[in-house]
Amino acid sequence: MPEIKVTPLGAGQDVGRSCILVSIGGKNIMLDCGMHMGYNDDRRFPDFSYITQNGRLTDFLDCLIISHFHLDHCGALPYMSEMVGYDGPIYMTHPTKAICPILLEDFRKITVDKKGETNFFTSQMIKDCMKKVIPLNLHQTVQVDDELEIKAYYAGHVLGAAMVHIKVGSESVVYTGDYNMTPDRHLGAAWIDKCRPDILISESTYATTIRDSKRCRERDFLKKVHESIERGGKVLIPVFALGRAQELCILLETFWERMNLKAPIYFSTGLTEKANHYYKLFITWTNQKIRKTFVQRNMFEFKHIKAFDRSYADNPGPMVVFATPGMLHAGQSLQIFKKWAGNEKNMVIMPGYCVQGTIGHKILNGQRKLEMEGRATLDVKLQVEYMSFSAHADAKGIMQLIRMAEPRNMLLVHGEAVKMEFLKGKIEQEFSIDCYMPANGETTTVTTNPSVPVDISLNLLKREMALGGPLPDPKKPRTMHGTLIMKENSLKLVSSEQALKELGLNEHQLRFTCHVQLQDPHSDADTLHRIYTHLKSVLKGYTIQHLPDGTVIVESIVIKVSSSAEDSNTKVLLLSWSYQVKTWTLFLEAAALPGVTTKLSSRHP
């Protein structure tokens, strides 16, 4: 039976490392290659030993697809491609290709420089890995090879995030990566057409949440910023790149306008350069035919937000500064943090996850004394706020996506061992489809029922119709006899005679004979008659004839009786039948003559 196999990779049951192996139509595809940020040892990488115990992965994978630039989806990419070894194609969208290497390099620096790790991928490895990347455009079908094709759909969530449709023959799978069903200020909502994949694979980490409204999150952010400004404090917001930072800028600008606030808002110059780059990317990305709501404006025409100069950090009075990098691990944001940390009127707002080893991670864990270079300690007196703005699909979002794509089966990937029986039940009930939830390392096999289109000759169809009976339907298939001719890529079903004619072959008839001995003192004619009567009584519904030429015919089976040469009480029945097995089996069952011993000796034709 045709089937698709899905295996989420990786040891441990924790959330935070996406890497899924899919086997479909003889092809092996890896979806995402994430790093688990919580572990310091090999547990942070997916468990590639599932694919092969040693050696490179190139021969075992047809392609690798990365959904978006978050490290828990692409963090292990250089390790997998350069240290384990993979030379095949790596697919991702254009923005992902642009942003990935920057994040990977940042991450590498933190891991090696800050944490002093030695067995980690190098800058060169990141560069080499990215050379293998083939960028994807939205809604464009890409032929990976003759049989495997992929297509990217808009996922929302972050810039460049995509959902991927994978097709081999008539079987297909859709992988969502991380997506979002409610539009953002700068990103639209995920969208896919009714592609009816055999399996829809979705992350389900947030499936059992009901999200607090964006308004409330924004309200909280503004409230915190305002409270600090009111008491004369300075607010530092470390950000990675435009996207989220852009949203927060727009938010502050509007708030400042409404409340007629005077305190200055700055963003650092490093951000400006990156911003222009991403702005260009963003425009080409959103110029695709996607459903979106985004603010069309020049990214730097803010009335209240100005470019930052490092000397401003020493200015008295309240201010807000957006600075890079996002986890306070180096550069300008760290410099500013060091200056402002000692004053309790100030505040730092962390708008996202911080990797272990960074200052951001430490202060979010409540650390109030930090060790800096040269043994100096920094007292953290300013207020630390952790606010999450990232957009994920919740339970309602998953149901919406299923409604859009109409998959035949659902597969939820989640790292936690927690059972989500309720969601499974909900999906199964509402959509009448099966819902699978494999744990990491566990393979789910889904039997698909691909439909193979075959032309049928009119004559054959008419003949079948003439036989009467109910019309065939998916629940009650009907068997029919015919010959399947495969010519190039087309399939044709014709009658046997037509096939023989087309092939220029003669039809041959096969008849089988066998002799059955039985003891019966009666005459040949009487024995034959007894057989006839018996068969007539047990084989009801079959055509049984007693012909004057001394034969009994049951359907197409011919029976003759003759006496044995040696002994007249021994009768020999000659049975002969053509290649109609069904009737023969039935005949055998019913042929036990009462009070007669039989000895079957069959002879091949």
Partner: protein, 401 residues
């Protein structure tokens, strides 16, 4: 789309003629420019897939909701966001979402849901008959809420359905009934009827609650209140309705608490009349007020509740998309117009309702049992809000815990 940004800067919408123009202007100016964070310490806004009419605590940090459409519905147990509950490290906690910890399916609407204290059991009524459904809310191993049984009520068909009250302590027992003469106490495990209220009256009930482990209060739609003890078969104490008007419906709540002074009962009518009396002397002089409700008369699911930890505070919802909080200490013996101490207008302001002909109204609200000013409210558009309001009389400085 464009950017919409709304914030509720004003605590009071009313401008009475008592203020002179200049004073009015200054007040309005400061209202707009008052830090908008003043009204709420915390505010969380959620959108359920389907609206709920029930909000019931199953623990200090989890609550049950359930749908009320005609056919299949979901019962969900929601865990409150960590950020709301974290008092110490609030700023380091980013978690703002509800977590659906358990869920199940019902065959009909859920009009009443009561949690049995000390258990993982809940009892529901569909508002169509007086039969009750019994549920297991699930534990650590499973996240499915399963129906485990049912309790037969007296009526196979009922217009409003039954009210349910769980006995506060002792083995799991529920008090239930659709009308006053039907009230009975049933033991869950055996299904045995342990007590029946002896009365002939067929008044339909609008509330039922225990005021002690054995004494309960049953509030009828016509405003009369019965108090009885499940230990005795003595007839109940009856306090007649404050008003003889026929088309008026009443809802009742009795305060719970250790202080004898908190043994008070409030009755609110569909015309906005509110009457407070002492439990020991229901017919006696208490205090009353005319509530400032938007659409008196047009209400179906009024809920009135005493605040568990704030003395003299009551909350009212169901008249519109607003939840109002009043301080009854300001009320006198004669009915006068009362102004709410606080109004939560979130459901009306940010309504998700698609059908404009029926305005959004609040279907239910509850107070957190320990956090003094934290409430949950649900509305007909599926919204659920969790809010921690700031007492406007205690403002001037940082919001009080």
């Amino acid at each position: 789309g464009g950017l919409t940004f709304t914030f509720d800067c004003s605590a009071q919408n009313h401008v009475t003629s008592k203020l002179s123009f200049t004073v009015f202007y200054v007040k309005l100016y400061t209202e707009i420019h008052k830090p908008f964070s003043f009204r709420y310490k915390d505010l969380h806004v959620y959108q359920l897939e389907h609206p709920t009419q029930v909000l019931e605590w199953t623990s200090g940090n989890s609550v049950c909701v359930a749908g009320y459409s005609q056919s299949k519905n979901e019962i969900l147990e929601l865990r409150l966001p960590l950020k709301l509950l974290a008092d110490e490290n609030k700023s380091l906690c980013a978690e703002r979402d509800f977590k659906v910890s358990h869920g199940g399916f019902t065959d009909g609407p859920v009009r009443c849901l009561t949690h049995i204290p000390g258990t993982r059991c809940a009892v529901t009524n569909d508002g169509l008959s007086s039969d009750l459904q019994v549920w297991d809310l699930g534990g650590e191993e499973s996240d499915v809420i399963r129906r485990t049984g049912s309790i037969k009520g007296k009526r196979s068909a009922s217009e409003r359905g039954s009210r349910i009250a769980a006995r506060p302590s002792s083995a799991p027992q529920v008090l239930h009934g659709a009308q006053i003469s039907d009230v009975q106490l049933t033991e869950l495990a055996s299904g045995e009827t342990l007590y029946k209220l002896e009365t002939d009256s067929a008044d339909p009930l609008s509330s039922l609650q225990f005021v002690s482990d054995t004494v309960f209060l049953a509030g009828c739609c016509n405003g009369s209140v019965y108090v009885a003890d499940t230990r005795t078969s003595a007839p109940p104490q009856l306090s007649h309705s404050p008003s003889s008007a026929e088309s008026v419906i009443w809802w009742t709540d009795a305060a719970a608490g250790p202080h004898p002074s908190s043994r008070r009962v409030i009755r609110v009518s569909s015309s906005g009349q509110a009457v407070v009396s002492d439990l020991r002397n229901l017919g006696g002089a208490g205090c009353q007020a005319q509530l400032d409700v938007q659409t008196p008369g047009r209400c179906s699911q009024v809920k009135v509740s005493w605040a568990p930890t704030l003395d003299d505070c009551i909350s009212v919802s169901g008249f519109s998309g607003v939840v109002q909080i009043y301080n009854t200490r300001l009320w006198g013996a004669e009915p006068q117009e009362a102004r709410p101490l606080f109004e939560h207008r979130g459901h009306a302001v940010s309504s998700q309702q698609t059908d404009d002909s029926v305005p959004t109204f609040v279907t239910s609200h509850i107070w957190h049992p320990e956090r003094p000013r934290t409430l949950l409210s649900a509305a007909s558009d599926g919204s659920v809000h969790v809010w921690d309001w700031v007492d406007p009389n205690r403002q001037g400085g940082s919001p009080t815990p």
